[in-house]
Amino acid sequence: MTKILLDIKDLIVYFYTEEGIVKALEDVGFSIKKGETLGLVGETGCGKSTTASTIMYLLPPTARVLKGEIVFKGKDLLKLSENEINEIRGREIAMVYQDPMTSLNPVLTVEDQIAEVLIYHFTMAKKEVKERAINLLKDVDIPAPERVIRMYPHELSGGMKQRVMIAMALAGNPDLLILDEPTTALDVTVQAQFLNLIEKLQEKYGISILWITHDLTVIAEMADMVVVMYAGYVVEYTDVTSLFKNSLHPYTSLLLKAVPRIGTRVNDLEIIPGVVPNLLYPPSGCRFHPRCPSVKSICKKQKPPLMEVENNHFVACHLYNEN
């Protein structure tokens, strides 16, 4: 039985803003095993990025974690001090962010930004640091790494910047790598290269990956387990094959139908009717009920809990709750 690396339980996170309370995460829970890739899917605003930010504990000042545990290698991250969590960030858990164009500091060189991780988490001699940085760049398939380390971010292309970010993330030898929509800003060919690269790196380093995306095709290729989120809570949680062959939640089925596949005609594409709810005033009961094709009267009153309906297949839907 592979060890569980990260276990999130009953996470509730609200944002206390000028306009009211945004109920961003409600009872979110899932776990990641060692070496596993977990895909976190959902539309924009469903809480995927907030979940990642909470793991890293990098939330805006308006956020408050009201309940929950994030157990990583035996320790609850939410209970750690600022210093303790700084030791983990960048070192045991590393994150690659969405927009490579703005995520690198424009006034520091590539070498500087990679070396920071090495200097602050390990004690290394200067020469070692430079060598390690060059090796990391080689790992992420950046050509002419000796030249690139002296460059500034604005001199690199989008794809290169993204790779530098991965190199930065890997510098700490992390156990868990969080990728927040890493391919959204890239064009399709670069995207394919990126996926290959990640596969290669995962094989080489044996890291677990939390892959956040709204693109189901990426999930199909890269993920072992999948968590589908909607409006701040988990609606379905299972392995990738079960998700695609036997999805249980109505939202998942609609998501899958909305992905164009070779062979389908344009008329057959279905759009999910309605819009994503405003989390200031989320719908009562099950938050998906306004858009659900299989809605029942109980759905408007009671929020369905996440239950294991089949082997290792969890759903939060009243269709499967015969209580």
Partner: protein, 313 residues
């Protein structure tokens, strides 16, 4: 690199000349004959005509300007109409005082502003922030000649702590320092207030940027993120604004020197304007123009050094 510098200096020359041309034209529009002012009411018309001819003031305006221009190249700024002394000499005498005042107050204001503004941004909403913002608001609303008088009144006249006027020698001497405290404080106020506000808002803006999130995500200590990542970026727009404030600070020096009887170029030019002493006005304006240009050049180079996105082309 030096080619770039030379090009910049060459581009600046027409600007400096433009400045002097404008001032020259203004002075010549002035009603009020400098010669008459100088010689007094009882001068006879013949004397006036004679003196005007001697000083070359009866020639057409554009010829006067060209004569003046050609003299500059030879390093001759003419003689003061009122005192007859070479303008260059007077300027050299007075310049150190003004430079001392201006440079000290600018540097002081910048350093303190960056410090205060950063702390303010970091503890946003806290009492330090509120106090600093309030102080900065008062600072940009304060008429500094009035502030000077108030300080003079309280600290010099009532309490007798500091001397009332004049310069007591170079600023690194004790006497010099005592005389310089009030003028420098007054001149720094507006810049300090403005730059503090600027630093605060720039830092707040930068602290919200993605690359700061990346830096925090790497587990770097907060202090490092602030100084190395945030401040390094914030300094760029701040330096630009400081450059823009150089000209303004010279203007402020004029008033400050007047109030504190500080023997600098500011006071010189005000007196010269009253007396329609055109060569002095021209000469000092030229000096101001050159110094402002040099300061801007320096700031530009600093800017290019700090921001790797700007290449010297």
């Amino acid at each position: 690199m030096s080619g770039y510098m030379i090009k910049r200096v060459l581009l600046l020359i027409p600007i400096v000349l433009g400045v002097t041309l404008i001032v020259f034209l203004i002075m010549h529009l002035a009603p009020g004959d400098p010669v008459r002012l100088m010689l007094g009411e009882r001068a006879t018309p013949e004397t006036i005509i004679k003196v005007r001819h001697e000083l070359g003031l009866d020639r057409p305006v554009h010829i006067q300007y060209f004569v003046w221009l050609s003299n500059i190249i030879k390093g001759n700024l003419g003689n003061s109409i009122t005192t007859g002394r070479p303008v260059l000499e007077t300027i050299v005498e007075r310049m150190p005082a003004t430079l001392e005042l201006t440079i000290t107050s600018l540097i002081l204001a910048t350093i303190i502003a960056i410090f205060l503004g950063s702390i303010s941004a970091l503890h946003r909403g806290g009492w330090i922030d509120q106090t600093t913002r309030l102080f900065a608001l008062f600072g940009i609303s304060m008429p500094y000649f009035w502030f000077a008088l108030m300080l003079l009144m309280i600290l010099s006249l009532k309490l007798g702590w500091l001397p009332v006027y004049g310069r007591g020698g170079p600023i690194w001497t004790l006497n010099g320092l005592k005389h310089a405290i009030l003028p420098v404080a007054v001149l720094s106020l507006a810049n300090l207030a403005l730059l503090t506000r600027l630093t605060r808002s720039t830092m707040l803006d930068i602290l919200g940027k993605d690359y700061i999130k990346t830096a925090r995500g790497k587990g770097l200590p907060k202090k490092l993120v602030i100084y190395k990542h945030a401040l390094r970026n914030a300094i760029i727009p701040i330096v630009t604004i400081v450059g823009l404030r150089v000209a303004y600070t010279f203007g402020g020096a004029v008033v400050t020197e007047t109030v504190f009887a500080w023997p600098g170029m500011g006071r010189l030019i005000v007196e010269a304007i009253y007396q329609r002493d055109i060569p002095v006005v021209q000469g000092v304006t030229l000096m101001f123009g050159i110094v402002v240009m040099l300061a801007n050049l320096f700031i530009d180079m600093l800017y290019a050094y700090l921001d790797p996105r700007i290449t010297i082309e």
